[in-house]
Assembly symmetry: C3
């Protein structure tokens, strides 16, 4: 019975959203699509714009079910706070997991994890009030907004328990090495680098380099190469992105472990709690939330 439940959970995640039949689209791809479409401002109304874009062939339509993608995301209609408020209150809104406001409903850290209030627009804009204080939202910058990062993140290594401790010797080793400047010193060579090839170093059975061993994705994930100092410092550098002229994304920021993805990924769980690492990180509701942030995260 339990195994059926878990199977069904996986199925449910595939079906829980109205928008799910949309083909997955990358965050980077959206602006291109937007540019192709006529904006509401220049064409009078959203409806007029839609029909005009249909006639101009500007809407990318691959199948009937992409109507939703075309209407909402390509159409770039304003996402209201009211819908965001609904998402924060609804179980399974971003994949398997409790409603955000169950755990995050107050700016008082004694009542709400991280002192984060996702039950009001003011609370969302205020962000986590518990030290280390961090904003949940960077208006206009969905990919820099922690609420989005937390929804799309997977804690590493894959398989690590949600409640596995984060201040172990090995994880603190990474932190201290970065905060000390992330140098290629003896400590790095003898202690840090070997961790990435050691199973169970960070709380799961799998070693980091099982998935992060080259700039090719696949077989490597996100073009992250943890097999050498040079690879680590280059960051996420997939060869396919490189061909498109995209710069690598740093994963280590010397002297700043807190903002270094290499460390963050070891200590930050994906939200909502209970969601699986294979669950859709491009959930349509996540993209609607991202669009709201991109449009300025307006409360009214």
């Amino acid at each position: 019975m339990i195994s059926l439940k878990r199977l069904i959970f996986i199925i449910f995640l595939l079906i829980t959203s109205p928008l799910l039949s949309m083909p997955a689209f990358s965050a980077e791809a959206q602006p291109v699509e937007q540019q192709a479409a006529v904006s509401a401002a220049e064409s009078g109304s959203l409806t007029h714009q839609m029909w005009r874009n249909i006639m101009l062939g500007n809407l990318k339509i691959e199948a009937d079910h992409t109507a939703v993608d075309a209407l909402i995301l390509q159409g770039n209609i304003p996402v209201t706070y009211e819908y965001v408020a609904t998402l924060m209150r609804t179980p399974n809104a971003f994949g398997e997991g409790p409603a955000c406001i169950v755990c995050h409903s107050s700016n008082d850290p004694k009542r709400s994890y991280r002192g984060l209030d996702l039950s009001t627009c003011e609370g969302i804009l205020r962000g986590a009030t518990e030290a280390p204080v961090k904003p949940a939202i960077v208006p206009g910058e969905p990919m820099k907004s922690r609420v989005v990062q937390k929804l799309r993140n997977n804690r590493m290594p894959l398989g690590v328990s949600f409640l596995a401790p984060i201040d172990t010797d090995t994880i603190n080793g990474i932190k201290n090495w970065i905060d000390a400047g992330a140098k290629e010193d003896d400590n790095f060579k003898n202690t840090i680098l070997p961790l990435f090839s050691t199973p169970k170093a960070f709380g799961s059975d799998v070693a980091c380099i099982s998935c992060h061993s080259s700039f090719r994705d696949p077989p490597s994930f996100h073009g992250v190469n943890l097999t050498s100092y040079k690879g680590i410092m280059k960051g996420a550098f997939s060869k396919s992105n490189a061909k498109l002229g995209k710069p690598p994304v740093p994963i280590v920021i010397p002297h700043d472990a807190a903002n270094s993805p290499l460390y963050q990924r070891l200590i930050e769980n994906r939200m909502p709690p209970g969601i699986g690492p294979n669950d859709e990180s491009d959930h349509p509701n996540t993209h609607l939330l991202m669009r709201w942030i991109e449009q300025g995260a307006w409360c009214k």
Copy 2:
């Protein structure tokens, strides 16, 4: 993977609602059931009425799961705007599709398709503000309310893409013929009538007469016969309805294409976008919305 997703979608549509286990019931059948039941006004309270109707045998109960039907729809309890507000905000509330308010949350046509605001009761009552202006609701008349029509509608012909253009030569041909009086002239004989038997005439592979070729339903759908002028002008005239003394429903209103179902069905997509043509048009939540309209569409 995609094909599993789509299969699961279909399954999901079957299960997404709490009321779905209710047997489908036709809109016409409801008043009869209501008449049979003792009303709350004459029996003191809803609970008293329910038990009295049980004792009188007035509640139609075919299986345990019809309890919901009996309690809510046969019981004719007032549907509150508050519940309607929830439906407007909830993904999948009326079948597969995004929440209504994602696309319809303002009376400003630059911010919301058709300038339709479904996020407030006032906005619902105001309807679409973009020309051609149309009310979303006719209080007391659920079947005449466009919000209901749009939820129960299927754009024709089956299989046509949501974003297929609506001002093609063939569709405009139908429009102009109706607006010119819908006469049995040479234009009708040579140009209009053949369209109904031509595959791909209106954007899908199927010809209209594949499903609309006689007054018998089945094999014809809704008793619509598009094989002759006489058949078209008689409208939806199923023989089984005729035996019950029900008049045919016109599908062509001469000089008024905008209100002629024959034209409307060619240009109006079913809501919410992405829903399939085979999805339940008698969704329980659609019936609760209809009941709210029937009871007067009161905001308080």
Copy 3:
């Protein structure tokens, strides 16, 4: 098609909640878990408390998916009325069934079953206003709160229709016997006791003693023994609970049928209507509602 629907319904019930992957836990077991954990008050913040409890090994974690259980219920974070409000408005929130507010949205018995308003916090606290007046909530006492009892209850005998009459001769026989003092008199011996072994005595095919014939659970359910006067008056007395020193729970309160579980179970349907007797009575959202009540049922 219908049978597939029903099968899918059952599956859906297994998957409808974000918290469902939590192992079922008994209401009695929670306080123990809470005691084991460091409270937010003594440790500064919920987040600090969580990490401290992780380090102390105080969080009971059996698998990744129990993160939710650990964070919310073991963490004993305050459940807000706002989330309770969401639950009252959401279809399927507590298992298959319509949103509570569809039927219970006013304190006027002519508009709402039992004059119960679950659409406002004041209405929840006011309870049913129709005679017999009963509170829905006992703040601090989830198991004594009727809203919880109704969600976890199954009307007896299993299989009885939701709308089966409740003032039959046999049910009234039980009521009158209890109200007259629940004595072991001739009426009991000749009329009452035989009812429990008679199929169809109370509206379903199954006799009470099919499931309630000893203090052993299993095979008996809840350790209820309806085969003798002594057994009935001892109440729910499972041998396993007895070994733990727990007293039996009375099912008959002489002179007070209304508060006697033996009678209540014959007349009170499980909520929401349409839910099946095998559906999860420990639904995670039911436990969140219980936690809100346990914490005082505060509106703010």
